[in-house]
């Protein structure tokens, strides 16, 4: 006697999409049938003279043809830039839409449309990341937010702006009741959020990220930023720097971490009287800059030296499970909730 196979009920896949718009990468995340599907593209582009069109057709590289030039976007732009020995351009600078790049909006529109894809339901909710207002530069995020609301909306979604570092909290601190400190070490800036049961206690950003580290190390050893960046991405151990270039990188990494922790202390002390923490909370570190070898050990060492004087009791320090996707996952969780509400 054979067992009659029962039909498997279709899995209800929740609607909603999270979109992390960073200086170096654009990442989207949505819930699929087999798990969480994420799409990632480099947030860079390069322009070539119109004469390069034929060569690009032969090499089957996707491009946008304009009147006088062609644009190559995303990862292909990075590869082409290496071939031509030029520096790829970025639509975002220091985490915010670059005012000096006249093509920024058009490029971002194309990149985001490709990363988001079509909505699965009309006006599907999309949470996109927005950095907190920087405390050490006069950059303005109002225009940045407005532009992305427009782009996401033109892609057919209902846009919602979500704080970048809060995305880490949503994705990584469920077991702590969504309480903790999320630090997103990005390329353009470092974003910080402290949350108690999903309530934002503190959010800010500092204009020091991977680019700042590269520039600092480059100027101190007489190199170019792109060369230092290439060396960094090739892989090195922060705990065992070899040679002057790596030592300079380690120095600037330490400086960036110290600076972020200094600012957390400073900001927390200014709001300390307004609420109390009933129990220690974790620090969750994420972002592309945190992918350097030995980063967490390095971060721990820097933190341990100041633990006694740190105004917040910290339970543990850990890295996000997927540092490049954590923010997009957190935003996806909020988008799913938006559909359920």
């Amino acid at each position: 006697m054979t067992e009659e196979k029962k039909p498997v009920p279709p899995v209800a896949v929740p609607f909603g999409i999270g979109l992390d718009i960073g200086t170096m990468n654009i990442v989207s995340a949505r819930r699929g049938k087999d798990g969480v599907q994420s799409k990632r593209m480099r947030d860079v582009f390069i322009d070539l003279p119109i004469t390069a069109k034929r060569m690009l057709n032969y090499s089957k590289t996707s491009f946008v043809a304009r009147e006088k030039d062609v644009l190559i976007l995303g990862d292909a732009a990075l590869e082409t830039a290496n071939v031509f020995g030029t520096k790829p351009r970025r639509p975002l600078s220091n985490g915010i839409i670059s005012a000096s790049e006249v093509d920024s909006l058009e490029i971002l529109g194309i990149l985001i449309k490709n990363v988001l894809g079509e909505p699965r339901t009309p006006k599907e909710h999309c949470y996109f990341s927005v950095p907190a207002a920087p405390i050490d530069s006069d950059q303005d995020i109002i225009y940045h937010k407005g532009v992305f609301e427009k782009i996401v909306s033109e892609c057919g979604y209902t846009p919602h702006a979500g704080n970048e570092a809060m995305g880490i909290i949503y994705a990584e601190t469920a077991k702590e009741g969504f309480s903790g400190i999320g630090i997103s070490f990005g390329s353009g800036m470092t974003n910080v959020a402290m949350s108690i049961n999903t309530l934002e206690g503190l959010t800010f950003s500092v204009a020091r990220g991977g680019d700042w580290i590269d520039a600092g190390a480059a100027s101190s050893v007489g190199q170019t930023s792109s060369r230092i960046c290439a060396m960094k991405e090739k892989g090195f151990d922060l705990m065992k720097p070899l040679g002057r270039d790596q030592e300079a990188l380690a120095f600037y990494y330490k400086s960036a971490i110290d600076y972020a922790l200094d600012k957390i202390e400073e900001k927390f002390k200014s709001i300390q009287s307004k609420f109390s923490l009933s129990k220690p909370i974790p620090i969750v570190v994420s972002g592309g800059t945190s992918l350097a070898g030995g980063f967490m050990e390095f971060f721990n060492n820097v933190f341990e030296k100041r633990r006694d004087s740190f105004p917040i009791e910290i339970s543990d320090i850990r890295q996000a499970q997927e540092p490049l996707n954590a923010v997009a996952y957190g935003l996806l969780i909020q988008a799913i909730q938006e559909h359920e509400d």
Binding site: S38, S62, V64, G74, I110, K145, G146, K150, Y170, A174
Partner: protein, 204 residues
């Protein structure tokens, strides 16, 4: 030989308290060398450039002693009451500027210089500014200031800002190479925990 100090006032007016001298510009006074050298106020005035001091050497005239046949009745020195020291008065004149009157005067002069071509230019400029203001009003996008709350970035007050009406071009549909991954992730557990937390909050 005796030495005297000639003090000449080089500023508008000065009061040298310990010498009891109240001087106006150009006035000169003579005091003994000792008095001049002991005067702190004079030293200060000199340092500040308020006075000029010149020491003058004088010869004493020697006379033969007068024979005194009868004792001379001592004359009582008449002491005049010293006038109270008066500080140089500083006159502060309040200058008031009638800005409206000034503006009227400038406008009157400008109007006199205007001709028909200037009038036309001004009216066309005003029309253009009004046209621009109207077109900005018609733009649908208004971005607001951001404040934090529960991860969702919200807006607080109106800060009008220009954002192009259409960012995406229809002719820009291209397929780009995208890195796609599927992972187990913790999204489901986190969503469940968030749901439970919200429910708990609502019950409270």
């Amino acid at each position: 030989m005796m030495v005297e100090a000639q003090i000449i006032c080089t500023c508008v007016s000065i009061w040298i308290a310990d010498l009891n001298l109240d001087m106006k510009k150009g006035q000169a006074a003579i005091v003994s060398e000792t008095a001049a050298k002991n005067s702190k106020d004079l030293a200060q005035a000199r340092k500040n450039g308020g006075v000029q001091v010149t020491y003058i050497e004088r010869f004493k005239e020697l006379r033969s002693p007068v024979e005194q046949s009868t004792p001379v009745k001592p004359v009582q020195k008449m002491v005049l009451p010293q006038p109270p020291p008066t500080k140089p008065q500083v006159r502060v004149e309040k200058i008031s500027l009638d800005e409206d009157a000034l503006a009227d005067k400038v406008a009157a002069r400008m109007n006199a210089m205007r001709d028909n071509s200037t009038n036309d230019l001004i009216s066309s400029l005003i029309a253009k500014v009004e046209q621009m203001q109207n077109s900005l009003k018609e733009r649908p996008q208004i971005v607001r200031e951001i404040v934090g709350s529960g991860g969702k970035v919200e807006t607080k007050e109106d800060v009008p800002m220009f954002i192009p009406e259409k960012i995406m071009g229809k002719d820009r549909d291209i397929d780009l190479e995208i890195e796609e991954t599927t992972s187990e992730g913790t999204v489901d557990e986190a969503s469940e925990a968030l749901r439970a937390l919200r429910k708990k909050k609502q019950e409270k």
